[in-house]
């Protein structure tokens, strides 16, 4: 098992979003959680990432208890709804941001992943010149270079048009499978869920997975 959530309770502004829920994810599995806007999907991902403190419960990643760890020590990658690219860096600079120290940079690996993601030709472009789909590809490439143990996808395709969304969804699935990286993808789009996910659960279903 890659991730194991035990008896997790989350609340936002005194409103309970998740109460004593359990969830497990197999190695390399891509789980999609489907739910309407505002139901708490993003809060769940932010809790796994370490940005939100759970009211109670535990989260284990490959046997490590994540609760005491800050986000930077969890080795998890995350794609947000809006692609987050640093405006003071160009495309290559943003991708190289995956390496905290210059001496750790592996340019062969960087070039290979940029070619795989179809963004090699735009490596010297500024980020304002990228389309939404290209920007998310850059973000994904950067996240993959950190070799995450888990990838969290917070509706990263929601702002793209239908064709690009479907194409990118298929590419994300293929990339994750080829690298055997488990992922939790939250969305409200059924088509996208069907393309990406190995397993799909509705938010209401997840909500009812309460501990005895």
């Amino acid at each position: 098992m890659s991730i194991e959530i035990q008896s997790l309770t989350l609340s936002y502004d005194e409103h309970v979003l998740v109460s004593r829920c359990n969830l497990t994810l197999a190695e390399g599995e891509i789980l999609v959680i489907l739910g309407p806007s505002g139901c708490g999907k993003t809060t769940l991902l932010r809790a796994i990432a370490g940005f939100v403190k759970p009211d109670q419960g535990s989260i284990y990643l490959n046997g490590r208890d994540l609760n005491p760890l800050p986000p930077e020590e969890r080795n998890i990658g995350m794609l947000f709804q809006r692609p987050v690219l640093f405006p003071h860096k160009d495309v290559l600079g943003n991708i190289l941001f995956a390496y905290r120290k210059k001496k750790h940079r592996n340019m062969e690996e960087v070039n290979e992943i940029m070619k795989d993601m179809g963004i090699y030709a735009m490596k010297n472009q500024t980020i304002e010149t990228l389309s939404g789909g290209e920007a998310q590809r850059v973000v994904l490439a950067r996240a993959l270079l950190t070799n995450p143990e888990l990838l969290l996808l917070d509706e990263p395709l929601s702002s793209l048009d239908l064709n690009v969304r479907r194409q990118l969804a298929a590419e994300i699935r293929a990339t994750l499978k080829s690298k055997n990286i488990p992922a939790i993808h939250v969305t409200h789009d059924h088509d996208e869920a069907a393309i990406i996910g190995d397993r799909i659960i509705e938010w209401s279903e997840f909500h009812s997975m309460e501990s005895e």
């Binding site: 990432a49 370490g50 940005f51 800050p70 986000p71 930077e72 020590e73 080795n75 998890i76 990658g77 995350m78 947000f80 809006r82 987050v84 640093f86 405006p87 003071h88 941001f97 995956a98 905290r100 973000v139 950067r142 996240a143 950190t146």
Partner: protein, 575 residues
């Protein structure tokens, strides 16, 4: 130690840094006078000059603020409504006076009004009040009317930038469809009605804020009062002069009483004005939607001839005192035959220091050393406090954040003279050995500049998207690494603006430095200019040397101003 208490440390350090000198000074004055600060206010009329200073402070500040709005509003209107070529340069030239050191402004206006100067040659003698001004004095019965006019004009010149910065962006971004809609209604048929029912409600908070800030800066002005209206007293000027005798047991208790009562009253007035200006600014920022400046300007089109003449006159008004000062440093008046000659002698004397204890070059190096140290202290402290406030806000502690935010603005209610007296009567009476410390001026300078740094950095922190920080965290960056590699690069503009403004304010600071460094080898450039102007003028080069020294200060400030303008991101309705 909990995380919350760690976040509070910079706030306590900041408040301690500001409040301890003031608290110690007040405590000492209470001991000496035997009166509490509020009772001392009612003793102000007991001082021979107390009532006059109080009355003149109010009147001149009110008239100066009114004149500032009267001159600045048409300029802001023309600039905000039309498409101008080189708009950024025009804006920069009109806002230059606000960052000009007050002693430089005083020298500029003295150069403009002096005998043989451009204004006197037009038959308007504001300095010696002959001719028309003399007639005006006699007709109105107002003594020193020439000096008062000079002071009001100088205050309007200095504060003009406030109207430009507060009102012009507002005019430029109001959607044209609003005015178009009101023109189609019966109520908006005439210009007067549109001004009354549309523009005034839209602009009144911005105009009000500009008026209040102009009032505050005129009320606490010292160098301009000292040199342009030398026979008049404001509270600030009187406190500065009487401050040297205050705080000593059984010696001139009326001086201590004046400083205690004057500072308390001035603090209350400034706090009230700042509170009201802050409230109006907040209302202004949430009032309505805006459009891009380009769109609004395009709708109104190119400026009319009248607008061009108006803006050109404003540019002349903004640059004339500085130009006159520069000219006066090389145009030497020969007293024997009342003629003028061109020479760089005054610059040579200023740089070698033949007339003073320290040369202009040494004073410049002192000024730069203090300004750099002040920048480091105020940037570190200001960033830490702004970051603490922002952390409280993001963690949902909105009330705590608001209280700390308000407390952080308290020092804005302290004038240069009040801060100088705080350090003199508070810190130095407790630790007199600090008088021997070269870095002494850094304390008041940082006290005065840190609140401005907070006001620049806090909005930048608020506008910084938290997802950048979160993304870097997900890539494994520690808090320190995120600060260095994400926060600093993204906030570069604000940090550069805060740093250069801090240096510029410190370089030009006069009130506190005048109290603490009146004679010594650590003189700053503004103090050197004041010392030179205070010398008897038997030697014909005294005044040109003072003008040359002030010009040197202006040039350094100008370089800093250019840097600030290059990095300033366009923002509506603020400093």
């Amino acid at each position: 130690m909990t995380l919350r208490s760690i976040r509070s440390v910079p706030i306590f350090v900041y408040l301690g840094f500001i409040l301890i000198p003031i608290y110690l000074a007040i405590q000492r004055l209470i001991d000496v006078t035997g009166k509490d600060p509020f009772t001392a206010i009612f003793s102000l009329p007991d001082h021979p000059l107390g009532s006059e200073a109080l009355y003149f402070s109010f009147i001149q500040a009110f008239l100066s603020a009114t004149l500032t709005i009267a001159i600045g509003l048409p300029i802001a209107w023309w600039l905000g409504r039309h498409q101008w070529k080189h708009l950024n340069i025009i804006r920069a030239a009109l806002t230059l006076p606000f960052v000009t050191p007050t002693i430089v402004a005083a020298m500029g206006f003295l150069a403009l009004f002096k005998t043989g100067g451009p204004i006197e040659s037009l038959g308007i003698d504001l300095r010696f009040e002959t001719g028309f001004i003399g007639w005006l004095s006699n007709a109105t019965g107002i003594e020193n009317s020439g000096h008062i006019i000079a002071l009001l004009l100088a205050h309007a010149w200095f504060n003009l930038a406030l109207v430009i910065r507060f009102v012009e962006p507002k005019i430029a971004t109001i959607p044209p469809r609003f005015e178009e809609s009101i023109r189609l209604l019966p109520i908006g048929k005439t210009r007067f009605n549109r001004a009354r029912y549309f523009w005034w409600p839209m602009l009144r908070t911005s105009i009000g804020s500009a008026f209040l800030f102009a009032f505050i800066f005129s009320f606490t002005s010292f160098a301009l009062v000292r040199w342009l209206a030398p026979n008049m007293w404001t509270l600030e000027a009187l406190m500065a002069v009487e401050g040297g005798a205050a705080g000593i047991h059984n010696y001139r208790t009326e001086a201590s009483l004046l400083v205690l009562g004057g500072a308390t009253l001035q603090g209350i007035i400034l706090l009230f004005a700042l509170g009201l200006a802050g409230y109006w600014q907040q209302k202004q920022s949430i009032s309505n939607d805006v459009v891009s400046e380009y769109f609004a300007r395009k709708t109104a089109g190119k400026p009319s001839l009248f607008a061009r003449i108006g803006v050109s006159s404003a540019l002349l008004f903004a640059l004339a005192p500085l130009g006159s000062m520069l000219l006066s440093s090389v145009r030497i008046r020969d007293r024997t035959n009342e003629s003028f000659r061109w020479s760089s002698e005054a610059w040579d004397i200023a740089l070698t220091g033949d007339l003073t204890y320290v040369s202009a070059a040494e004073a410049l190096s002192n000024s730069i050393a203090y300004a750099l140290a002040c920048m480091i202290v105020s940037l570190l402290l200001g960033y830490a406090v702004a970051s603490s406030i922002h952390t409280f806000e993001t963690r949902g502690k909105k009330k705590t954040a608001m209280i700390i935010d308000l407390l952080s603005m308290l020092p804005l209610a302290l004038s240069g003279v009040m801060v100088g007296l705080g350090v003199l009567l508070g810190v130095l009476k407790v630790w007199p050995e600090l008088f021997q410390w070269y870095g002494l001026p850094i304390i008041p300078h940082a006290m005065l500049t840190t609140p401005f740094v907070i006001r620049i950095i806090l909005p930048a922190l608020r506008s910084l998207d938290s997802s950048y920080d979160e993304t870097a965290a997900m890539l494994g960056y520690s808090q320190y690494q995120r600060f260095i590699r994400v926060r600093i690069p993204l906030m570069k503009s604000s940090l550069v603006v805060a740093a250069t403004l801090s240096i510029a304010f410190s370089l030009g600071e006069f009130g506190a430095s005048w109290i603490l460094l009146r004679s010594g080898s650590w003189d700053t450039l503004p103090i050197l200019v004041d010392q030179l102007m205070a010398r008897p003028k038997y030697f014909q080069l005294v005044e040109p040397v003072a003008m040359a020294t002030a010009s040197l200060l202006m040039m350094v400030t100008f370089v800093l101003f250019v840097i600030t303008e290059r990095f300033r991101e366009h923002q509506g309705g603020g400093f």
